[in-house]
């Protein structure tokens, strides 16, 4: 069997995982200047909400008295559960944004009690946001453990297997995920390039006062961005719920890939994540396939170090540089 085909098939799952792990983080980091160390836990929330919905235990979620998914026909139960996961996580992100990241809720309370705001928003305060979200991550892991125990019953992986000759096969679902990852990037491209939202969001973080005086409702932009980033994390959780064991610490398994991909990708969310997912996914697939999983993992990290060192602004800056060089020549 051609090793090329094999490598290609192995490439898809790693690409999907890196891209899906990174997008939510990239948006919140790239647009709001917030490093979300609880990103993995947002993914966990997505997976939990999906799994609970699918297992007909949605009633165990706060504020959901009944289980709407349970009455649906079988074929749409999983998609409906996943959608629930995305929405719950987006909503959760919104709550975190209002209470911690923007400090709006504590400030609202403080203004009515001691007469002045007490919290400075975390926007563009990389390091403070890191500590705050680290706290959130600690709280969430244990809170979920206390509420739902050490593990949830899993969801089976849909779609069965895809055989590609010589007794080799892969879970079809993993290939589907690669497609979803590509689709997510495409959608983000549309959102950021074809609509003004992305531009306004970036303008907001670059100069909030000026954005306001050009008519941008910056509060809403921040909320929307954080909810979008959280929703994407939720989507990742939802999509990986069938593949991964559902335990409170499961988010940790996404965090490293996500960070590495965001930094390797650089400033541009879509192009950066695409290139990072492509490069790192390929490196991982190649080394894991030929020399084993350990080699794959080490090489992924080593390549990340090399990229940061030699292209400090990330792979997407490389594209710009090439474009400039090209302009210079022509």
């Amino acid at each position: 069997m051609a090793p090329g085909v094999d490598l290609l098939v192995q490439f898809f799952p790693s690409f999907a995982k890196i891209v899906l792990a990174a997008t939510g983080l990239a948006i919140i980091f790239g647009i709001m200047g917030v490093i979300n160390l609880a990103h993995g836990e947002f993914i966990m929330v997505g997976a939990y909400a999906t799994t609970l919905a699918y297992n007909g235990a949605l009633g165990a979620l706060p504020l959901v008295p009944v289980d709407p998914i349970g009455v649906l026909p079988g074929a749409v139960q999983l998609p409906a559960a996943m959608l629930t996961g995305v929405l719950v996580t987006a909503l959760f992100g919104l709550v975190v944004e209002r209470t911690v990241i923007s400090g709006a809720v504590p400030n609202w309370i403080a203004e009515r009690t001691i007469g002045r705001p007490v919290v400075k928003p975390m926007y563009d305060r990389l390091l403070d946001s890191m500590v705050a979200t680290w706290g959130i991550s600690l709280i969430m892991v244990q809170l979920v453990r206390n509420l739902y125990g050490n593990s949830l019953n899993g969801i089976g992986i849909p779609f069965g297997q895809f055989s590609y000759g010589n007794g080799l096969s892969i879970s079809t679902y993993k290939l589907v995920l690669a497609g979803v990852a590509a689709l997510v990037l495409l959608l983000l491209y549309v959102v950021f390039v074809r609509t003004d939202y992305g531009m306004r969001a970036r303008a907001t973080i670059q100069n909030e006062g000026m954005a306001k005086s050009l008519g941008v409702d910056t509060e809403r932009t921040y909320m929307a961005t954080f909810a979008l980033g959280s929703g994407l994390a939720g989507l990742t959780g939802a999509l990986y719920a069938p593949l991964q064991t559902i335990v409170p610490g499961m988010g940790g398994g996404f965090l490293v890939e996500a960070f590495v991909a965001v930094v390797v990708g650089g400033a541009s969310v879509v192009v950066g994540t695409l290139l990072a997912g492509g490069l790192l996914g390929f490196v991982y697939a190649l080394f894991a396939n030929v020399w084993g999983t350990f080699a794959g993992r080490i090489m992924l990290l080593v390549v990340a170090i090399l990229v940061i060192r030699f292209v400090p602004q990330g792979l997407s800056s490389l594209v710009e540089r090439i474009r400039d060089r090209w302009a210079e020549v022509s």
Binding site: D196, M199, K212, S213, L214, D217
Partner: protein
Amino acid sequence: MLEVDGVRAGYDSTPILRNVDLSVEEGEIVGVMGKNGVGKSTLVKTIVGLVEPDEGTVRFDGRDVTDTPPHERARSGMGYIPQGREIFPDLTVEQNLRMGESINDGSSALLYEDVFDYFPILDERRGQKGGTMSGGQQQMLAIARALVANPDLLLLDEPSEGIQPSIVQQISEDMRAINEDLGTTILFVEQNLSVIRDMADRCYAMERGTIVDELGATDLEDEETIASYLAV
């Protein structure tokens, strides 16, 4: 059109403005002059809504906007060109302009093409990052960004800063043209004598956080009077 009434404002409990009264009629071009640090920029920011007054009211178009957030004031027709350009550094020139345009309800008479007539360099550099433009180019971009929003009231904070002399003259002329052609009301802050003279119908003079004088058209003919408010 614009009415500022008994405004007291400042930053974090440091009071800067004291009891400021000022009004601008529709279609007027009004200047504000004064030495460094007297609070001219603070006044403009208070009008735009970036500084919240402790006392007093700001009325725009007949409505009390004192508690209206800045983005709503912008949408209801205030355009702002800040001191120090405040370009979005990582957005391209074109995106910076689109940021301005995005509040425009579409009825704009003044679109890109006209703005590019004033500042052709912006047309050439559509794809360049705002932050890499030269100082003066950024100033032009800031002006253009406010113009494409087609505001009813344009607030300019030292528009001539860092701009080459020939374009400074041109800006004064362009502003008058915009005022006449589109009826845009203009309030501007300046320290450049000739710009004040060329542009303003009348002019307020500020000292230490408050308005101390108002100069009419004839006073503005007199260089000495103006200079007395700008120098020691």
